[in-house]
Symmetry: C2
Subunit: 312 residues, 2 copies
């Protein structure tokens, strides 16, 4: 089973307006509300692949209840730690070709929540083969919290796939408990290694991936958008090319890519199959309007068009 972790989920509200009128009342009848948070997208991606998955993290209040109801509707298994404090909303206003977002910080939690969640998490680890961690921490949580999760997972020899950024990622990379896989984009990689990278030059990418701070991370997948990806798998380097696709909504594609990586590791697939699966899942998501959705009927068509080249 794969355990996915979403520490600060949300109810995402999307409003479609012809025009957003500032300093006035905008009436909207086209409203969508969904359970959001990067880790929940990962969960959906794994679920589409028919691999057993359990979502955990922290939810609270009536917003948390809505998240549970939405996951029930999608037949997604979950076991959250439940607090008294309301989970957050994230608003996306779609208007005149724009997407204006308002992201709530979410509830401020305390040390008691930290401790209670760790106890909750430990109980879930018995039947878990892979863990994914995605997104940011709730207010009030220590920046090294993901290190704690990885340390506990290491006691059970469970590899952790970490998709985070900023201080949470940097702190984890400096700790003695390393994730098994990270999936930084170009900006995040620059922040980690503190130097410029030419993403069109494989030698520049290899040099970056040889940086000390990335030692002891077995798998690193750098997402390059329409240019595919570049990966270091143990000591081998791979350029991954993808076909040109009709991008409808790229939101969540990185999360679905992570879902593909987790599924592949869960199924003990080869490096080549893993990278092809992950890129195919990401593309399938980008071709759909709905965030976190993939049409698996198109899987084989696009899978065959992903090319992997080892760089020696």
């Amino acid at each position: 089973m794969i355990l996915t972790i979403t520490m600060n989920p949300s109810v995402d509200i999307s409003y479609s307006l012809d025009k957003l009128v500032i300093n006035d009342v905008n009436r909207v009848s086209n409203t969508r509300k969904t359970a959001g948070g990067k880790g929940l997208n990962v969960t959906r991606g794994i679920n589409f692949s028919n691999i057993p998955v359990l979502a955990t993290g922290i939810i609270g209040g009536t917003t948390g209840k809505f998240i549970q109801e939405q996951l029930d509707e999608d037949n997604i298994a979950y076991n959250f730690y439940v607090t008294q404090k309301e989970s957050r909303n994230c608003i996306a206003i779609l208007h005149q070709g724009n997407q204006t977002e308002i992201l709530e910080a979410g509830p401020r939690l305390d040390n008691d929540d930290v401790e209670q969640f760790l106890q909750h998490y430990k109980k879930l680890l018995n039947h878990v083969k892979i863990i994914t961690i995605s997104g940011s921490l709730p207010l009030g949580f220590p920046v090294n919290f993901y290190v704690n999760l990885i340390e506990l997972a290491s006691e059970y020899q469970i590899p952790v796939l970490l998709d985070s950024s900023g201080q949470m990622l940097l702190t984890t990379l400096k700790s003695q408990y390393k994730p098994y896989l990270i999936k930084p984009n170009q900006e995040e990689l620059k922040q980690i290694i503190q130097m410029d990278i030419d993403v069109n030059d494989s030698h520049s990418l290899i040099k970056a991936l040889k940086h000390d701070s990335l030692d002891d991370i077995p798998l690193i997948v750098i997402s390059l958008g329409k240019n595919g990806a570049f990966a270091r798998c143990f000591n081998h380097y791979y350029q991954v090319s993808i076909p040109k696709i009709n991008v409808v909504n790229p939101v969540g594609s990185g999360d679905i890519t992570l879902a593909g990586l987790a599924v592949s590791l869960h199924e003990n697939e080869s490096i080549e199959v893993m990278l092809k699966r992950a890129m195919t899942m990401g593309m399938l998501n980008a071709m759909e309007a709905q965030t976190g959705f993939v049409n698996m009927n198109n899987y084989h068509e696009y899978y065959q068009q992903v090319e992997i080249k080892e760089i020696i």
Copy 2:
């Protein structure tokens, strides 16, 4: 007891941003979520006056549950008809001195909800002395729905105070079941009588209030903002003047004015006391940042400054 009716309540979310950046991500830590809807403000106003009050209407889903929790916190009694469909959110973005609002239409309900609510409403009428109806109807409800509510109230001789607008108000005024009181603003009055009014001229106002469509409405209070109000109480006309006040947040002042009118009728006060109480409550609300809040400690100070002059 006063029964307040809010057919389409909401969870109001207020975001305070230094700047709203269009087509980008705006992160916000200053979020307020409250139970909203004009009728719930009326309920709060009555509650501040220590008169027994019960809120009803239709709520649903986790948003409806949040509304109940908020009313519990404010010690407000309620007995809603509960549907499966989620109640709505209304968003107010406060930015650079602007207030940009996004108002959801709310759930579309069906004939079964109409029937079920009417049954629910009938059961509540036994111990009710006054009813207030505020705001708009849910999608799917017939435009003459408030006529049904007034008709059922008339079987118990319960007067109904109606604060609505548009077709819902016009349809009610054309029906044989009239409200006991309406509280139109200048625009709504113009829409009702289909002619221009000079609100600075009492004769113009009297002429408007003698319009056929307003026959059989015992009490009509026209709110004139900082200029107070003009009222027809049976066949007497009153100019109501208020002192200059420091307006902090006028949202909800009309609702709190209606609360004052309902309280006064409940307590069988004189016309003069009724108008003074109502205007005082509205002013107290406008002087507070929090919508639907009044500081009753200031009541007597402002009550004494309201002047009522009968126009012969």
